[in-house]
Symmetry: C2
């Protein structure tokens, strides 16, 4: 793996929620980094989201500090004070200004961030900073995730990109309960990084759904160390987009309890907005998601979920394709049920819905809904 | 139980989907009945919905014919022909006009209604019509329901009301996969029955959600035999409303896999619409519903679901009450976790959310989300 130049990583276990689980991670940019961020649209915003937005106004960013276990959301003034205290202490030890540090948190909402326990451990966090500890950082930000999510890319110019993310529930368009960090050694203007990130998030993290929820803490930060000249901008932009899309894919793949990733494409819509509403309705339908889990080619549920949007459509015109195999045309299955059961038994499924009304399309990734999702979420805190 | 005068009921097993399950039910009004109906807002409408709407234009209604097993939705022209054929044959045997019969269907979408099998059995259906067979009718319309849903009321004037419904999944505001039939022996004008029904549905079936789905077949018919004079209109209207609300409650209680009924009330909102959006967001949140199932007082999920609507709110102002017990004020639990766990262990729960921003309120009923919901829906067809 090709790690972008200029970054150090570390992670430690502070016992924020569970003993011996890595729960605090730090990324240090060794020189004056340039950063951008995109945050949750939930109107209830966690303390680190409020602070992160403010700190992004600084022209220089040097560090990202993330904890798991406690979201520091719905914690009011006290939550802000605790987050700021932790940032100040970390900045002091790193000899940077507090505004140069971006915070993020994930975990249970409504509980206080135990800064008393965390602060005494900061010196160890800083002493253990190293280039290779990126995978420990990826582990430290996990909650119900079953695997760390790391993507790396190198452009033709030799510019490196490293993406690290966590999922895995409360995932829905307009971000997700997800944190993602995109690091690169490219030399880039703050405004260019912002436009890349905003467009990238729209085509990646805003196109995944696990359960239709939107968290209080969703955060994507991009941080560039500026070590390398970008000669081929298109190639760099493309690698940046692919990094985000691959991270988003890993999040759905690790959706809570998920056994399958389903790519849903609505094409032939009159407008982009119509395609998006219909794709999202199918992707979020519990009846469609349980049918995928049961590997049951119950196509009527797909039609019912399209219709519940209220968007006018003629069912006899709508065509379905499963993994490119023609499935439904003129309201009739185009083959034996067995064929479609076999397609649904795969762990990666593509459902194409052709409305044949226009030229617009939209793509979204979802997962199936299983008993395991219920088990995880009925007992997440215990 | 006081059955409205002028109605006969029957039900038989035609093997539409399962052998020996009652799957065809008939209600006959012995004189010239007056009817009204409310239907799904799903833009994909089943054949019986399209026909039912048309037949309601007739000034006289004499019968309601309902099958379970096959929804006759997404069946195109062929579906309409099959439904009309069944209606014509039944009307002929009953010696009524086809327009005087209202149809309804529930079951799997996209499969043909097996009229060839049903029609030869119609004579038995008609021969067995009797006053007492209303409970057989209630059983015949069940799909994944675990119990028949029957409500009866008598006004001070001695007017009888009988409500029969089926749930139990695909339930969401704007009706549900639900069928409901309200019968009364009141003498009432068609327009008055319509206004009672529209208002009643808004305050009952449109206030329940099991899984946020809206079916292709939702239908509520009201049918009055006109045998009795209404002297006290308010008392009659009130009994009518309560019949609908009690039926709606039974549907949530029997929500697929549900172990608890949860009444969610949002008060102190600036507008009714705001209260409705917030109440619905909480009622449909899979994370809130799984926390209720796990009896976990994870109040942060309630705040996160309020916030995901994007409606501006100050979390520190929002108060939560669980079964009238103060739960959260100023972002702090108002008692030991044990207290709230005990409240959540009950099978009927009331969650009151006070926004303290205005004077508007909204109420909705939901249920918890359990592994059983997944099991039912991953294998519904098999």
């Amino acid at each position: 793996m090709h790690i972008p130049e200029g970054f150090l990583f570390s992670a430690i276990a502070c016992g924020i929620r569970k003993r011996d689980k890595l729960d605090l991670g730090l990324i240090l940019c060794q020189n004056k980094g340039v950063a951008s961020g995109v945050f949750t649209r939930n109107s209830v915003k966690a303390a680190p989201v409020i602070i992160g937005k403010k700190h992004l106004r600084s022209s220089v960013t040097r560090a990202i500090l993330v904890n798991s276990g406690v979201a520091n959301a719905c914690t009011g003034e006290d939550g802000l004070h605790r987050a700021l205290k932790l940032i100040e202490e970390t900045a002091k030890l790193l000899k940077i200004s507090p505004e140069e540090l971006l915070p993020a948190s994930t975990g249970v909402i409504g509980e206080p961030l135990p800064v008393e326990t965390i602060i005494p451990k900061l010196p160890i966090l800083i002493e253990t900073l190293s280039t290779n500890n990126y995978s420990l950082f990826a582990q430290a930000i996990m909650t119900t995730d079953t695997f760390p999510k790391i993507v790396s890319k190198t452009t033709k110019d030799g510019i490196a990109l490293l993406g690290i993310a966590k999922g895995a529930g409360m995932i829905a368009p307009n971000m997700a309960t997800m944190l993602a960090f995109i690091l690169t050694d490219a030399s880039i203007q703050k405004e260019d990084l912002r436009s890349l990130l905003v467009r990238g998030v729209e085509n990646s993290f805003n196109r995944i759904t696990v359960d239709g929820e939107t968290s209080t803490n969703d955060t994507v930060y991009a941080l560039a160390s500026g070590k390398k000249q970008v000669d081929d901008w298109d190639d760099f932009a493309d690698s940046f987009q692919r990094t985000l899309r691959e991270l988003a894919y890993l999040i759905v793949k690790d959706g809570e309890g998920a056994s399958k990733v389903i790519r849903i494409v609505v094409k032939g819509a009159k407008t982009k907005e119509e395609a998006k509403i219909l794709a999202r309705a199918v992707a979020e339908s519990p009846l469609v998601k349980t049918a995928f889990y049961g590997e049951d080619p119950n196509w009527g549920r797909i039609f019912a979920s399209l219709g519940k949007t209220g968007i006018a459509l003629d069912p006899s015109e709508v065509e379905l394709y499963l993994n490119k195999v023609p499935w439904i045309q003129n309201l009739k299955p185009q083959g034996a049920e067995k064929t479609f059961k076999e397609e649904l038994a795969k762990s990666e499924i593509e459902l194409l819905i052709n409305l044949k009304k226009g030229k617009q399309s939209y793509e979204i990734f979802t997962c199936d809904l299983t008993e395991e999702y219920i088990r995880i979420n009925a007992s997440y805190r215990s």
